[in-house]
């Protein structure tokens, strides 16, 4: 039997391994920062009030990707990340990742405290495994520490999935959590149908930023593989 997996769902990792993200539909990436030159690749730039604290000249805000295929992530980071001659970032900036999945049932599996806790455990492990330094934006965000330009109000801990998933509006306080389940949000599009990971910071290094995005995709994919949709609930009654 030949297992057909779309090429757009296959990612070749830096160690040569192939990662199949068959459960994932599309990816959206938001890079916040100061852009010396605004990228021109599969996305658009807009201002963002939470981005602050830069003394250099440039465009402050975020570069928001279109809904891209999983195998386009690396190229997107290479061509748009605000680092080097293209721009810079600080602790106020987030590297948000939107993920849409192919099945509503899978979305519901992710919209649980169990997944939230699992994700945070894995995200901590990612920090340790990649030797992310203590006191950096990565850990400050996880620990909700207000350091320098970073305001933890925009990225709080805790699971608020059910409340978030009911909102049609993007600009509501509930979204400012590590994971924002913005399934029904009708902002710039008919309905987002994504979950947004707001906890990643902007890393200085493109390779670590790519790794972080791929790690989130991997956590989602592996969790869904290990947790197939529950069997139907059947209720038998009589009158």
């Amino acid at each position: 039997m030949t297992l057909h997996i779309e090429q757009t769902k296959q990612i070749v990792l830096s160690n040569g391994q192939i990662f199949n993200c068959s459960k994932i539909d599309r990816i959206g990436i938001e890079f916040e920062g100061l852009f010396f030159e605004v990228p021109n690749f599969k996305g658009s730039f807009k201002g963002d009030g939470s981005v602050c604290g830069f003394s250099q000249r440039g465009s402050e805000g975020e570069f928001v990707s279109e809904a891209i295929q999983p195998n386009e992530v690396s190229e997107f980071v290479q061509k748009t990340h605000p680092s080097g001659t293209r721009g810079t970032s600080n602790a106020s900036c987030g590297g948000h990742v939107h993920i849409s999945v192919l099945s509503r049932a899978d979305y519901m599996t992710l919209m649980t405290e169990k997944f939230y806790d699992h994700f945070m455990k894995k995200w901590n492990e990612f920090g340790h495994n990649n030797e992310v330094n203590e006191g950096t934006a990565f850990w400050n965000r996880i620990n909700a520490r207000s350091v320098g330009d970073y305001n933890p109000r925009f990225c709080k801990s805790g699971f608020r999935g059910i409340e978030q998933s009911k909102s049609k509006y993007y600009y509501v306080e509930d979204r400012y959590h590590f994971i924002n389940y913005c399934f029904n949000v009708e902002h710039d599009s008919p309905r987002k149908c994504t979950l947004e990971f707001r906890v990643p910071p902007m890393f200085r290094s493109k390779s670590l930023q790519t790794k972080a995005i791929l790690e989130i995709m991997k956590i989602v994919q592996e969790y869904l593989e290990a947790n197939p949709p529950q069997k139907p609930i059947t209720l038998r009654l009589s009158i």
Binding site: R104, M111, T112, I162, K231, P232, I233, L235, R236, L237
Partner: protein, 155 residues
């Protein structure tokens, strides 16, 4: 009376309406399935009874009000229902909206001539919400049972 007839006593239990509610998370959303042979008949009779009681100015219990609201017919939908509205996409859309906005297991979808009614709500739900669906569905079925017993609608 023949022996054969005597062996089939008319237990009240024989007229019981058996209901099976299925709730499943599917690729398209939340799939609700109801299998029942006489539930539709009871639902229609309850609404007819409600209208009769209202017209006659009789006192209507809060339980009856609540069941009527859950069934939430309008005159228009009442007639459309009989022609099998579940296949009509515009009505399907309306039901989706009703269910998601009212956040109750609106039981209009029971009213079809088919013995199996199915609806898929194109939205995502958390486990506590699904539990609440089950609780409310059981509550409404319990209320319908009491009303049926009181009015003897399916005797």
């Amino acid at each position: 009376m023949s022996i054969q007839e005597q062996q089939i006593p008319k237990f009240k239990r024989q007229s019981a309406i058996k209901i099976e509610l299925g709730i499943a998370k599917s690729d398209e959303g939340l799939r609700l399935t109801v299998k029942s042979d006489k539930l539709t008949k009871l639902a229609v009779k309850l609404v007819d009874k409600y209208m009769l009681e209202s017209d006659e100015g009789n006192r209507i219990s809060s339980a009856f009000h609540e069941v009527r609201k859950a069934l939430s017919f309008t005159n228009e939908s009442y007639y459309v229902d009989h022609s099998g509205y579940l296949t009509d996409s515009s009505n399907h859309e309306k039901i989706n909206k009703l269910i998601t906005t009212k956040k109750i297991p609106n039981m209009r979808f029971l009213v079809t001539e088919n013995q199996i009614a199915e609806i898929i709500i194109d939205d995502v739900f958390g486990d506590p919400e699904i539990q609440e669906w089950i609780r409310l569905f059981s509550k409404f079925v319990g209320m319908m049972k009491k009303l049926n017993k009181g009015f003897g609608l399916l005797e």
